[in-house]
């Protein structure tokens, strides 16, 4: 990976310090929380489990090999999540009574299976949630006008010239804003999000 990369994985590997941990939590906690809920974990237990999953990620990160394969990290994270969920239900013996044990096991097995529809949903939601958090983390690094122009073009899908007119700024500024913020987001999501990988193909 390139020297100036802002990638979280790089950060975490090089300095498993508090700052990177904060980032990891910030980026992944919401995603994990949503999925815990999908797997019937009560909110009261979710905090602990989120922490467990992220601790496992931080601890075992050295063992994780990216192997250049896009989406590897989210698959690995999913494996940890499945693992923790199984452990949770086993140890607490607190499966919701309304659903059978086997039903939950079956759903966990689905999530475990990389080819399943559930895994596809995981992949999509992973990318979405992670990117949403990266957006939040990136915002303070830009001028409010830059950020707003970027949002209107890149997030809301408006044409740059419409945005420029609307905001009363030059078209140049809008184009710059969109490119600059998108660049940073791509760098930050490198190795985390599938579609951010391999984007240097043209250069």
């Amino acid at each position: 990976m390139n020297e100036t990369s802002l990638s979280l994985l790089d950060h975490l590997r090089r300095s498993p310090e508090s700052e990177s941990w904060d980032r990891l939590t910030k980026i992944y906690a919401p995603l994990i929380r949503v999925w815990l809920r999908k797997y019937d974990v009560q909110d009261s237990d979710a905090d602990d489990l989120v922490q467990e999953v992220l601790l496992a990620v931080a601890t075992d990160l050295d063992k994780f090999e990216h192997a250049g394969q896009p989406g590897a990290f989210r698959g690995w994270l999913k494996a940890i999540l499945v693992n923790r969920l199984r452990k949770f239900w086993r140890s607490r013996d607190r499966r919701p009574q309304a659903r059978g044990d086997s039903e939950l096991d079956a759903r966990l097995a689905q999530l475990d299976d990389p080819a399943s529809e559930m895994s596809q949903i995981w992949n999509r939601e992973h990318d979405r949630y992670v990117l949403r958090q990266l957006l939040a983390l990136a915002e303070p690094h830009f001028e409010p006008v830059t950020w707003k122009a970027f949002c209107r073009v890149a997030l809301e899908g408006l044409k740059p010239n419409v945005v420029a007119q609307d905001m009363g700024i030059s078209l140049n500024a809008v184009c710059l804003a969109k490119s600059r913020v998108t660049r940073r987001l791509r760098q930050e999501s490198e190795g985390l999000i599938e579609s951010s990988s391999g984007f240097f193909a043209k250069s």
Binding site: T4, W21, R23, T25, K26, A29, P30, R33, V34, R37, D43, S44, D45, A46, D47, D48, V50, Q51, L55, A58, T59, A98, D127, R128, Y129, L131, R132, Q133, L135, A136, C151, A154, L155, E156, G157, L158, K159, P160, N161, L171, N172, A173, C175, L176, K178, S179, R180, V181, T182, R183, L185, R186, I193, E194, S195, S196, F199, F200, K202, S203
Partner: protein, 733 residues
């Protein structure tokens, strides 16, 4: 400034716009773009897209704050990869804010009216439903009819609109959770909640019924609950589009789309037998059936007939009996079982004939349910009906059991609320006395108020406290006010008591004096004579009874031993001895009562979690008697520093965040069921490791001015950079 370089190629501009270029090259083009108009126009014309750009748009539609409001995640993040349709995105009147939901009819967006700056919801009707001009006409007619409805329990429809070939309905924007979501999240609801929600829905339905309208698709998903507990019926007028639309969909494909996805009617979990048989036969009694099935769902956590195919379900609605509620939970009163049965009777004639009759039955049930013996009924008027009114205050003496968490020395908490505030205050101790005072207390004109103070001095084994209070009407300030209630009288501009008091064999002297002019209480002092210890502390409450509720402010003081002697307080000894006697007499009695009052309140908390920069005290659940006129206050005290965070009643939620604490706070209307999240930004790790956190939940019963509280304390058990494991101590008082 460097000279503009040669124009980049179209490919390169596209890659640049998408942020695909390596940084070095991108920076070079930055310089070019900042000066080159034609290249910018090329970028506009290219409108490049790639996977990442698509993903950005999806991510942008997620709620911004994913960490705090967990409801957002499920209620509002139903996302798709679909973009906002262009005609809608460019609509002259409405600016789309975000996608907030997807339904059988189509997507729902939050939008702002550009001119009126009003937030609205736009429900886009699927194009399959609008293929025929008759369908479009009907849609406009139905929405116009629905727009006639104006009721707090009905989501207001504003208009039917068109943008290009997209038809949409403009309606009131309601922030909340639908009942289906609520049950999915929390499981079956408490009996009182379920009754309150259905009762409100029935009241809304009655309004529509009186205007000749039938909903035809009442189900949990169509009943929204707002943050203040108001239920609002969604989608009036739309359900009638559905069955006809199926018939209108003249291509096999369109018809297949509609039915295969169960798109329009969803699974028929709540449909009445006669409506399933022939949709044209649906009348208000069909809505009552659906509402009954919804009530069953809220109580059971599942629809009456959850198993089987669509056909089997329809058959069950017509012939079978659902699993008895009694077999699913043991706290459903027989009267309620009977109400559900009557609402869901197979024959329309056997049901309640109007929604008003349903509401009436539920209301009288609720009142019986919620009135424990010997309590005045008015306190238990279901909260969807009552607004808190100032009421008579009964003098009481309250024992606060257990130890109140440490308060900070010499530090006062002042908080301004509307019309009532402690402007300054002081405290001192020395020799044999200690005191708390609140000076220059501002009272808004014409608003009745109460002041009471409470001090405690945990000498020996047991702490004690007392409350002195009186009520006054500003108009009567110079006269005798609620003296009969409290034993306190105004003597010109001074109210005071002074007497001895014996608690647990210890002699205590009490002084209270208030100086006031017409609208200001200029000074208030409460003096305790007795040797203070390090643990001695005082609280002074100022309680404001106004037309919209009760608020209170308080001063907490801890008394170290080396403070100067208290100022001399002049009091009316005769009056004071009278009060003191009353107080003494009540100590013994109230002790038991306070315990009893607390017996019904349990608090469960989850452990404290430290997430990144935030400290989250997640998910408090306080289950207790219906809040009625109670006030709840939440206090977070890091390292013993009190800070008022928030208080609320069951009806209104107000935010009063001070310092660095933010609370998410919600209370369900019919039962006290409190979920709270407290966030403190960026605690310093090292410092946090040494901190302890106390969370105090207080409940003030406005009728009796009794307060009960629960305190939890967390200390980090282990604390290193990788893990935060917190240890909780709980004191229930």
């Amino acid at each position: 400034m460097p000279k503009p370089t040669a124009h980049p190629s179209r490919e390169e501009l596209s890659a640049y716009s998408l942020g695909q270029l390596p940084e070095e090259r991108a920076v070079a083009i930055d310089t070019h773009i900042s000066q080159c108009e034609p290249c910018c126009e090329t970028i506009v014309e290219l409108s490049s897209e790639d996977t990442f750009a698509g993903l950005l748009q999806e991510a942008g539609r997620l709620p911004t704050d994913l960490t705090l409001d967990s409801d957002c995640l499920t209620a509002k993040s139903s996302l798709t990869s679909e973009h906002i349709p262009a005609p809608l995105a460019e609509h002259p009147r409405y600016e789309i804010v975000r996608l907030i939901g997807k339904g059988g009819m189509g997507d729902v967006y939050e939008a702002r009216h550009r001119m009126m700056e009003r937030t609205v919801a736009l429900k886009v009707i699927k194009q399959e439903l609008m293929r025929k001009p008759e369908a479009v006409d009907r849609f406009h007619r139905e929405v116009k009819a629905a727009a006639q409805l104006a009721h707090p329990n009905v989501v207001t429809a504003y208009d039917a609109e068109q943008a290009g070939d997209i038809h949409f309905m403009v309606m009131e924007f309601v922030a909340g959770v639908d009942l289906s979501q609520m049950v999915n999240d929390r499981g079956a609801l408490p009996v009182a909640d379920a009754c309150a929600y259905i009762c409100q829905a029935a009241i809304g339905l009655q309004h529509a019924h009186e205007r000749g309208m039938v909903h035809r698709d009442i189900k949990p998903h169509n009943l929204m609950v707002t943050s203040d507990g108001t239920v609002k019926i969604l989608d009036f007028g739309l359900a009638s589009l559905a069955p006809k639309a199926v018939a209108d969909a003249d291509t096999v494909e369109a018809r297949g789309d509609l039915t295969a996805a169960g798109a329009i009617m969803g699974t028929p979990d709540f449909i009445s037998p006669e409506q399933a048989n022939d949709a044209r036969k649906a009348d208000i009694r069909s809505d009552i059936y659906s509402l009954g099935a919804t009530l069953y769902f809220l109580l059971a956590g599942r629809p009456p007939f959850a198993e089987g195919s669509v056909t089997q379900k329809l058959k069950s609605h017509a012939q079978a009996e659902p699993k008895p509620l009694k077999s699913l939970r043991d706290d459903v009163p027989p009267e309620l079982v009977a109400i559900v049965a009557k609402m869901t009777a197979k024959a329309p004639e056997a049901r309640f004939q109007t929604p008003a009759a349903v509401a009436e039955a539920l209301e009288s049930l609720s009142q019986n349910l919620q009135s424990p013996p010997k309590k005045p009924a008015r306190r238990h008027v279901p909260s969807w009906k009552s607004h808190i009114r100032p009421r008579k205050v009964v003098a009481t003496l309250m024992l606060v059991l257990g130890v109140i968490a440490a308060v900070v020395a010499y530090k006062f908490y002042f908080s301004a609320t509307d019309g009532f505030s402690i402007v300054s205050g002081g405290a001192g101790s020395g020799g044999d006395g200690w005191y708390v005072s609140a000076g220059s207390t501002y009272l808004k004109q014409d608003e009745p108020g109460v002041l009471f103070g409470m001090c405690e001095n945990p000498e020996g084994e047991r702490s004690f406290s007392y409350v002195v209070l009186f009520r006054h009407e500003v108009e009567e300030l110079t006269g005798v006010s609620s003296a009969s209630n409290t034993g306190l009288q105004f003597d010109g501009e001074t109210a005071s008591i002074r007497d001895g008091l014996t608690i647990d064999g210890k002699d205590i002297e009490l002084d209270l004096e208030m100086q006031m002019d017409r609208h200001d209480i200029t000074s208030t002092e409460l003096v305790i004579n007795g040797k203070p210890t390090d643990a001695s502390q005082g609280r002074l409450f100022l309680v404001d009874l106004t037309s919209d509720g009760v608020t209170w402010n308080q001063v907490n003081v801890k008394f170290p031993q080396n403070l100067p002697a208290p100022e001399e307080v002049v009091g009316d000894t005769k009056l004071a001895s009278k009060v003191a006697r009353q107080i003494t007499e009540q100590v013994a009695n109230d002790n038991d009562q306070v315990r009893k009052f607390l017996a019904g309140v349990t608090v469960e908390t989850s452990d404290l979690a430290l997430t990144s920069e935030d400290l989250l005290v997640g998910e408090w659940v306080w289950i207790g008697p219906p809040p009625g006129s109670d006030r709840i206050r939440l206090t977070l005290a890091p390292n013993g520093t009190f800070d008022l965070v928030q208080w609320s009643t069951g009806q209104e939620i107000r935010m009063q965040a001070t310092g660095t604490y933010v609370t998410n706070f919600s209370v369900s209307p019919a039962q006290l069921d409190l979920d709270a999240t407290i966030t403190t930004p960026a605690p310093d790790r090292e410092k946090t490791a040494k901190q302890k956190f106390e969370l105090i939940v207080e409940l003030l019963d406005v009728d009796t001015l009794r307060m009960s509280s629960l305190e939890s304390e967390w200390r980090p058990k282990t604390f290193d950079k990788d893990s935060w494991i917190w240890h909780r101590q709980e004191n229930r008082t």
